[in-house]
């Protein structure tokens, strides 16, 4: 049975010396039953702390945690029925794979006769048949990860929390495990919060993504919403890449704003236009894919190619438009279009439909 999670005004402050450090700051969020939500944010943004509060390893300074509508804020960790996947897996080093997986079943006093069957089933499901007698240190990183998953899934947890579970794996294994985790979560219908600082993981895996920054929730939404309609400069920058430029608002109308950037005037229709005021500073975000390059003369901005990288399916340029201001842009591969060289003068256009402005 899978349950939803509600966080109400969750805050956590740690004492560091005499001052208090705010690790989590007024977070409210609802996770639906069977949903997979990713917590995405840079390191130190409070992701782990929130997860540990939900799991019951840490008490919140303020706020409540509800699971399936029941307030569990004051419940012990072992009474919450939550599965937790640790970044370092936390497999018991002195127990075999079998004993690790059976640990929770024994704690729950599942009849001893049923344990071998359940363990075998779950090991088969995570693709780990035949390693029951091995110790964790005799397994590869990917296998340890699977044991950690099996150890939790065998208990059929109401809620699954994962703290950067793939951080210790190499890139190709990470892609495989990502698909695997998604398959298991869908198959078993477990409510899941997945913490990561890797936007690719979050966007491919999650139904919804919660972007965190310095203990605060910046935005929650589906991956597409976050990409298409970021609510602030931090999200615009953190989800997908963006060129960030400073500008000054010159005029605001109902559906667009005129902003001066690098001495040019730019009409912007997306972002938080409604919050801009004439005369204010504004942040402009343009994705590299919305930057087009051309001849220098009749362009919106002129610049010089500062660097050029071959990125597999395209060329990536960094163009200096002003002293110290670089704009990233993509271009065609050699033989399929024009290719600039380092030092070339180049003209830049921003696709107005893809340019976003936010208050600073």
């Amino acid at each position: 049975m899978s349950l939803g999670i509600s966080l109400h005004q969750l805050s956590k402050r740690f004492a560091r010396g005499k001052e208090a450090v705010s690790a989590v700051d007024g977070i409210s969020l609802d996770v639906e039953a069977k949903e997979m939500v990713a917590f995405l944010g840079p390191s130190g943004s409070g992701k782990t702390t929130i997860l540990r509060i939900i799991a019951g390893f840490e008490r919140p300074t303020e706020g409540r945690v509800l699971i399936g509508g029941q307030d569990v804020t004051d419940l012990e960790a072992n009474a919450r029925g939550i599965g937790f996947i640790f970044q370092n897996y936390a497999l018991f080093p002195h127990m075999t794979v079998f004993d690790n997986v059976a640990y929770g079943l024994r704690a729950k006093r599942v009849p001893a006769g049923e344990i071998p069957r359940k363990v075998a089933e779950i090991l088969e499901m995570v693709g780990l048949k035949g390693v029951e007698k091995r110790f964790p240190n005799q397994l590869s990183g990917g296998e340890q990860q699977r044991v950690a998953l099996a150890r939790v899934f065998v208990l059929d947890p109401r809620v699954l929390l994962m703290d950067e579970p793939l951080a210790n794996l190499d890139a190709s294994l990470r892609t495989r495990m990502l698909a695997e985790i998604r398959r298991l979560q869908r198959h078993l219908g477990t409510t899941c919060i997945y913490v990561t600082h890797d936007q690719k993981e979050a966007l491919t895996l999650a139904d919804r993504v919660a972007v965190l920054n310095r203990g605060r929730l910046e935005q929650v939404g589906t991956p597409l919403e976050l990409y298409e309609a970021p609510q602030n400069l931090f999200v615009a920058d953190f989800i997908g890449q963006a060129n960030l430029l400073r500008g000054v608002v010159k005029a605001v109308s109902a559906d667009s704003a005129e902003i001066s950037v690098c001495g040019r005037s730019l009409r912007v229709r997306r972002g938080r236009i409604e919050t801009l005021k004439s005369g204010d500073a504004a942040g402009i975000a343009v994705r590299p894919s919305a930057v087009s390059l051309g001849a220098a003369r009749e362009a919106f901005l002129q610049g010089r190619v500062e660097s050029r990288i071959f990125a597999g399916d395209r060329m990536e340029y960094e163009i200096e438009v002003e002293e110290g201001v670089l704009v990233r842009a993509y271009g065609a591969l050699p033989g399929r279009g024009f290719v600039f060289s380092e030092g070339d003068p180049v003209g830049i256009h921003f696709d107005p439909g893809e340019t976003m402005a936010f208050p600073l």
Partner: protein, 562 residues
């Protein structure tokens, strides 16, 4: 025992009433058996005619013999530290840097630990039988008059006894140096000697300093070897303090001499601790990925080192076989006919000493292990008040030279509110409060090494506090606790420097019996006692390991390293 499991990340917990009760008991024990004797000793040293004075110290320093003993003690300690560190490094280098068959490596390690499980006179007796008056080697090589006693004999015997300490310290640090660093140096064009000189040796320097200081301290406070080997021409402080008390019945004078010993010993200890702290910063690289095998030393260097190491190994084995054979001959050096009469002597005349010693060692091991596990887990908990002080006072008797502790106990428990002279209690208490140090440290270290996420994982899998403690925490610290127990048993069986002041007609000790045999020139009997003692220690060591397996079957997994 809720005293274990640390909850590292949780908020500052209120102090459990159980923990509070344990702390009170612990501090009471420390007050009576650590702080009180030390205070009485200091009072005896710094009081004359009922008022505070330095007269006792001045009197001691007016004696030419004491001044000579101080110089001798320091010179001897320096010499032993140099030679012991040298041999320790050679052995450690062979085991960690020269590609040797695995069996041979284990053999070397086995030979090296022999002195740890032997009574403190073993090498002295063996050396005497080999090189003393009418000794085996002297007759073999027809050396007519060679005087072993004095500085040379003491130096050689102490080097043989203590170089394993250097070996352990140095092999640990040599193992911690990533061979990749040496490979990197080699690939930058360094010859083998250059790589050794510029990478291996500097990186092991903190270990060398550490080993040197450990050996210096060990030799400075050694009592058994100089008592047998030094003779009248080479007085040292430990034996002088003993003779002052047993020969001249001058307790105050003995206490004052032991205080003179205390100062350099403490200084060396503090230096060594600061080195250890520095070493832990150097401890080399967070290892990522597999480590390559060590590169080896090169052919010629390897052969040189191995020859030296093999020669010393053979010599040690030769000495131990002398002890073994010596225990079966009629009169060493006179009549080499085989006999069992020495063992008959040991099990009749010596039976009481064997029984007493084993009884005391078992009691000390049981009590001391509980105490060590408790102290270690309490001082690992962050919410315990004065945990630094707790750790320090618990280790104090271990840091102080045995002679000092023994004399302090005599002064404290001969008179005054608590008279314990001649009882088993005083011997057990001495062993417990002096030798639980290793168990305290290893328990504390093991607890710190347990990643808090392991206990959290257990909770989140639905286990309660008790289950988590017994299934996760305990199996992971049990090997450390057992290591402390083994140490406690071994040293309780082989100790003498402190206990010799506390034996009585009612409670005798094997080591003291061996000493008596040696002074009466009953070498064959002494050898038989030694063999029996070594056997008991081995058996008990094995029994403790077996017990560990029985109590915590999974603990073998805990010893595995990835």
């Amino acid at each position: 025992m809720a005293g274990f499991g640390q909850t590292v990340r949780s908020e500052r917990a209120r102090l459990d009433p159980l923990i509070l009760a344990l702390l009170v008991i612990l501090w009471a024990g420390l007050a009576v058996f650590v702080l009180y004797p030390l205070a009485r000793l200091l009072a005896a040293v710094f009081a004359a005619d009922g008022s505070a004075s330095l007269e006792n110290l001045a009197k001691v320093f007016r004696s030419a013999t004491t001044r000579k003993a101080l110089v001798n003690s320091l010179v001897l300690a320096g010499a032993v530290a140099v030679s012991g560190t040298f041999w320790g490094y050679l052995f450690a280098f062979s085991v960690t840097r020269i590609p040797l068959p695995k069996a041979f490596r284990w053999f070397l390690r086995g030979v090296v630990v022999l002195p740890f499980v032997s009574p403190p006179f073993t090498s002295s007796i063996a050396l005497t039988l080999a090189l003393g008056p009418g000794g085996l080697l002297l007759r073999l090589f027809r050396v007519p008059d060679f005087n072993l006693y004095g500085f040379p004999g003491t130096w050689v015997a102490e080097t043989l006894t203590y170089f394993p300490i250097a070996f352990l310290a140095l092999s640990a640090i040599l193992e911690a140096i990533d061979p990749n660093l040496e490979e990197a140096a080699a690939s930058l064009g360094g010859s083998r000697w250059r790589v050794f000189r510029t990478v291996t040796l500097p990186l092991s320097a903190p270990g060398i300093a550490n080993a040197f200081l450990l050996l210096f301290g060990a030799s400075l406070t050694d009592f058994a070897t100089p008592l047998v080997m030094a003779g009248h021409t080479f007085p040292v402080l430990t034996t002088q303090a003993y003779l002052q008390i047993t020969g001249m019945y001058d307790l105050r004078g003995g206490a004052t001499i032991s205080f003179v010993l205390l100062l350099p010993a403490l200084l060396v200890y503090l230096l060594q601790q600061s080195w250890v702290e520095r070493k832990s910063q150097v401890t080399v690289t967070g290892r990522v990925g597999p480590r390559s095998a060590p590169r080896g030393a090169g052919l010629i260097a390897g052969i040189l080192v191995l020859s030296a190491v093999s020669a010393l190994t053979l010599f040690i084995l030769f000495l131990y076989s002398i002890i073994f054979l010596g225990s079966f001959v009629k009169v060493w050096g006179v009549d080499h006919g085989l006999t069992l009469k020495n063992y008959a002597y040991v099990f009749t005349v010596g039976w009481k000493a064997i029984r007493d010693t084993v009884l005391i060692a078992v009691a000390a091991t049981v009590l001391g292990t509980v105490l060590a596990a408790l102290t270690g887990s309490l001082s690992a908990r962050r919410e315990v008040p004065f945990r630094k002080a707790l750790g320090f006072v618990s280790l104090l008797n271990y840091i102080l030279p045995g002679t000092v502790v023994g004399i302090a106990y005599v002064i404290a428990f001969n008179s005054g509110p608590l008279v314990l002279t001649g009882t088993m209690t005083i011997l057990v208490a001495l062993c417990v409060f002096r030798y639980d140090a290793v168990g305290i440290r290893s328990t504390e270290a093991a607890l710190r090494q347990i990643d808090p996420s392991l206990e959290e994982a257990s909770y989140s899998l639905g286990a309660g506090r008790a289950t988590t403690f017994f299934r996760v925490t305990l199996p992971l610290v049990a090997p450390a606790v057992a290591a402390g127990a083994r140490y406690l048993f071994v040293v309780s069986m082989t100790a003498i420097s402190a206990t010799i002041f506390l034996v009585s007609v009612r409670w005798s000790l094997l080591t003291v019996r061996i000493l008596e045999c040696v002074t009466e020139l009953l070498f064959a009997e002494a050898a038989a006692f030694s063999v029996v003692l070594i056997l008991i220690v081995f058996l008990a060591s094995g029994a403790i390991l077996l017990l560990l397996r029985l109590v915590v079957p999974q603990s073998s997994g805990g010893l595995r390293r990835s």
